[in-house]
Symmetry: C2
Subunit: 114 residues, 2 copies
Amino acid sequence: MADASTEFLKGTLDLMILKTLSWAPAHGYGIARWIERCTDDVLEVEEGSLYPALHKLEDEGLITAEWGITEHNRRAKFYRLTTVGKRRLASSHAYWARFAGAVSKVLETSPASA
Amino acid sequence: MADASTEFLKGTLDLMILKTLSWAPAHGYGIARWIERCTDDVLEVEEGSLYPALHKLEDEGLITAEWGITEHNRRAKFYRLTTVGKRRLASSHAYWARFAGAVSKVLETSPASA
DNA sequence: GGTATATACCTCTGAGTCCTAGGTAACGCA
DNA sequence: TGCGTTACCTAGGACTCAGAGGTATATACC
């Protein structure tokens, strides 16, 4: 339970990683910073969640990794979306829309419509 | 991971239970059926998730329980939102809006705005 | 040359959530 | 009597996330 800031994350981290990689290959650190910046720090991506998620997505064949050098001249593992990953992104994105819409319905439906 | 149908639920079950009870007291079975009907079965509420969640919310003092008789003339435990529960509902609802908005931003922002 | 900061990677472990699978019981109807 | 529905419950395992810790290198500053 704890505080609200981590309450709802389940599953969406994978989805956001996939989405971020759909634009261009990126390394873990960069993915985290991008998501945080993009959401004005509403979403904070912890490394203890990020790296296991990345490894899991790689094991599932949704992304592939390759060592490279960053613009800061540092060694980093660049992840790239696979074809399977693109398909998963599309289906997960669609399901997220359905899911979020359903939750909104519950949160906004008035008792009268029961 | 598994299938998409249970992918995103974390935390939102509590929120939806709280919201359902904000209209009127209800029993577990009724809450589950209402959420499913309200979302056209997009969200399926499993009993193995529902009852533990209800007990947890009760332990936290967000809802209180009382035995009664349903319209079907059966014994059932009716749950009612407490004052603390109402406050929690308000803050969780607000955070859900922030969270869902942030996820949408990631899913819809184009690479150009990076 | 030494140190701090930022960049970049990783894993272990605990806490928490959800589901599967099982069980109990009573009502109404055929 | 048996069946379907309503209504409750828990034990166990799978999984996810976060906190805390660790490694290493480039650059900037002193």
